[in-house]
Symmetry: C2
Subunit: 347 residues, 2 copies
C-alpha cells in the first residue's frame, strides 16, 4: 500500500471507530441542565458555595454539606456510611456530588427530583445535619449579616432568606461541580491515544457484557433523553441469592421501596454514575465493598450472572479509571462571620 492510500485508509477507520463509539458512548456535555426558576449567576454560585461549606447549617455547627460530599476529593467522604451530628451513622453511603447536576433524580433511591429538593433533605435529617426545622435553619442563616445582604442581592423580594432560596443557592453551586475532559471523553472525541489498550478492552467489555444497558448516557447513569425528575431505576440485585448478596447484605435495605412503600420498588435503586467511580470507594448503597475490582465482580454476578476472570476485571477497572475527569480549581469561600457572638449555645 502506498503511503497516501495508507493514510486515507487509516483516517477512514478512525472516523468509523469514532462514529461507532459515539453510538454507545457519549461525552459529558459542556452545559448542565438548569431549571427555569433557578438560573445560574456568579453571585448565586458564590453564595451557594459558602452555604455548601458552612457547618452552621447543622444544628451544632459540626457538619456541612462538604463534610460528606467533599469537593476537595471525590465528592464523597470515602466512608461506608457518613457521620452526622454527634457521630450518628446512617445506613447509606454518600453519593458523589460531582456531576450530580446531570442526574435526573437525587439520593440513592431517587426520592428527590432535583438538586434543589435534595439540598433540603440532609439539613433536617436527625442523623445528618440535625436541624430541628427548616425555620431554625433559616433563622440561623438570617442572623448572619453578610448572608442577609447576599440573599437580598441574589434573590431580591421581601423575605429572601428562606429555605427554598437556601436550597436554590446550594443547587446552583453544585451545578458547577462537573469534571470534563476525562481520558474517556478525549478518546471518544477523537484522541485515540487518550485510552491505553486495557482501558479500550474494558470499554468494549462493558458494552459486550451488557453493563452499559443501565450505565448508559453521558453520565453512565441513564439515558440522556430523560428529564429532571424522571430518574432511572434498576433492580439490584437482579440475580437473587448469590454469595455476594449475603456477604455484603445487598438486600437488607430495600431501596426505593423504603420511600415509596410500593412493592414494585423493592430493591430498586437509582443507577449511580460511573464518572470518577475509581475515586468513590467504598461501593454500593451501603458502602459494603471496599475495592473497585470487587465491585465489578459483584455487579457482573448479581446483575448479569457472569463470573469474570481476572483479566476481564482488570480491563474493566482500567476503563472505569479512564472516567476520572478534570476537577476544576476552586477558590475557598469566606464564610460570613457573626461578629462578637457565636451561633451556638454555650451552656
Amino acid at each position: 500500500m502506498k503511503l497516501k492510500n495508507f493514510l486515507i485508509h487509516s483516517s477512514t477507520t478512525l472516523l468509523l471507530a469514532a462514529g461507532m463509539a459515539a453510538q454507545a458512548f457519549e461525552p459529558l456535555p459542556d452545559k448542565v441542565p438548569t431549571p427555569a426558576d433557578n438560573p445560574m449567576t456568579p453571585a448565586k454560585i458564590e453564595l451557594g458555595k459558602q452555604l455548601f461549606f458552612d457547618p452552621r447549617l447543622s444544628v451544632d455547627g459540626t457538619v456541612s454539606c462538604n463534610s460528606c460530599h467533599n469537593v476537595m476529593s471525590s465528592g464523597t467522604d470515602n466512608r461506608p456510611v457518613s457521620a452526622g451530628v454527634d457521630g450518628k451513622r446512617g445506613g447509606r453511603s454518600a453519593p458523589t456530588v460531582w456531576n450530580a447536576a446531570f442526574l435526573t433524580a437525587q439520593f440513592w433511591d431517587g426520592r428527590a427530583a432535583t438538586l434543589e429538593d435534595q439540598a433540603k433533605g440532609p439539613i433536617l435529617n436527625p442523623i445528618e445535619m440535625g436541624m430541628p426545622s427548616a425555620q431554625m435553619a433559616v433563622e440561623r442563616i438570617k442572623a448572619i449579616p453578610e448572608y442577609r445582604d447576599q440573599f437580598a442581592k441574589v434573590f431580591g423580594g421581601g423575605d429572601p432568606v428562606n429555605y427554598d432560596n437556601i436550597a436554590k443557592a446550594i443547587a446552583t453551586y453544585e451545578r458547577v461541580l462537573i469534571t470534563p475532559n476525562s481520558p474517556f471523553d478525549r478518546y471518544i472525541k477523537g484522541d485515540k491515544k487518550a485510552l491505553d489498550a486495557p482501558a479500550q478492552r474494558g470499554m468494549n467489555l462493558v458494552k459486550d457484557l451488557g453493563c452499559t444497558g443501565c450505565h448508559t448516557g453521558p453520565n453512565f447513569a441513564g439515558p440522556a433523553t430523560l428529564h429532571s425528575g424522571e430518574g432511572f431505576f434498576q433492580k439490584f440485585p437482579v440475580v437473587a441469592g448469590t454469595d455476594y448478596e449475603k456477604k455484603f447484605d445487598l438486600t437488607g435495605d430495600t431501596g426505593r421501596h423504603e420511600s415509596t412503600k410500593q412493592e414494585a420498588d423493592k430493591n430498586m435503586w437509582r443507577v449511580p454514575t460511573w464518572r470518577n467511580v475509581a475515586l468513590t470507594a467504598p461501593y454500593f448503597h451501603n458502602g459494603s465493598v471496599a475495592t473497585l475490582d470487587e465491585a465489578v465482580r459483584v455487579m457482573a454476578k448479581t446483575q448479569l450472572n457472569q463470573e469474570l476472570n481476572e483479566a476481564q476485571v482488570a480491563d474493566i477497572v482500567a476503563f472505569l479509571n479512564s472516567l476520572t475527569g478534570e476537577f476544576p480549581q476552586q477558590t475557598m469561600p469566606r464564610l460570613p462571620g457573626t461578629p462578637n457572638r457565636t451561633s451556638f449555645a454555650t451552656k
Copy 2:
C-alpha cells in the same frame, strides 16, 4: 491661625500621636518566624494545606485539622468546645489557627513549643482525631500514591513520609495563615481614618485600664521579644471568687497546671491573641462566654477588678473589632485519591 501654621501644627500632632501609639501598639509583622530546620517552600505549603484539610488523618475519616480550625472562617469552629471522632467533646475551645504562627507557645496551656509540636497532638488525641498511633497515621498517608510523591519531592531522604514531616508540612501551611492590614494596623501605620472615634477611645481604654499589660506585642499575645517556645503565661482569674468565676466555671480547668502538674502553674494560661477576636466567639478556654461584650466585662473584673460601664464596653468592643484583618484568598487543595479502594474499613 493661618492655614500654613495650622497644617504644620496638625502634622506635628499626628506624628506625635503616631509615635506614642507605636510605643504601646505594634502592627502585625510582614514575616512570620520560621524554624531553621523547617524552611517554607511553595511545594511544602501546598502539601501542608492538603494535609490540613484531609480527614484521613483522623481514625475514621470524619475530622480534619480544618474541622475545628476552620480557615474559611475564623480559624475556629465557633463552638464552646470542638467535636472529635464519634462526636466526642473535649474540655477546651479550639483556638484560632490564624496568626498562630506568631505565638511563642501553642495550645491554651502552651504545652507545645512550636506549630510543628502542636500539629502532632490532635491527630493522636482519642477525643479529637483519634489515631491509635503515629505509625498508623503515617501508614494511612503513605498508602496514598500522590502523597508519597509529594513527600519525596518536598523532604527527600530515604523515608520521607514520617510523622515529623507530616507535622512540618502542616506547620508550614499554618505559617501562611496570617491576616494583615486590619483597620488597627492601618491606623498605627499612619492612616488616621482607619479607626472611628469609638475604636480610638477603646484603644486608649485598653491601654489605660491595663489590658495591654498582658495583651501586648504585635499579636496582642505577649512581647515580641519572646522566642518560640518561651510562651507568655498569665493567671486567670487573678481576682478570685467573682460571680463570673462561678457562673462561667473559670477555675474548673486548672490550665497549664494540668500538663505540668506544677502548683505554680495553677490557673495559668497562655495569653490568647486579640487578632480577629471579634470573629472567634465563644470566649475563654472553656468557650463559656457567648459574646465579646460579656468577655470584656469578665476580663475587666477578673483580671483588673474593674466594673466597666456600657460605654466603656462598647468602645473596647469597637477597638477589638478593628483587629479583624484581611483574610487572604486561597485555592482549595485537591486531596490525593486512593484509586479503586477506600482508606477505611467497610465492615
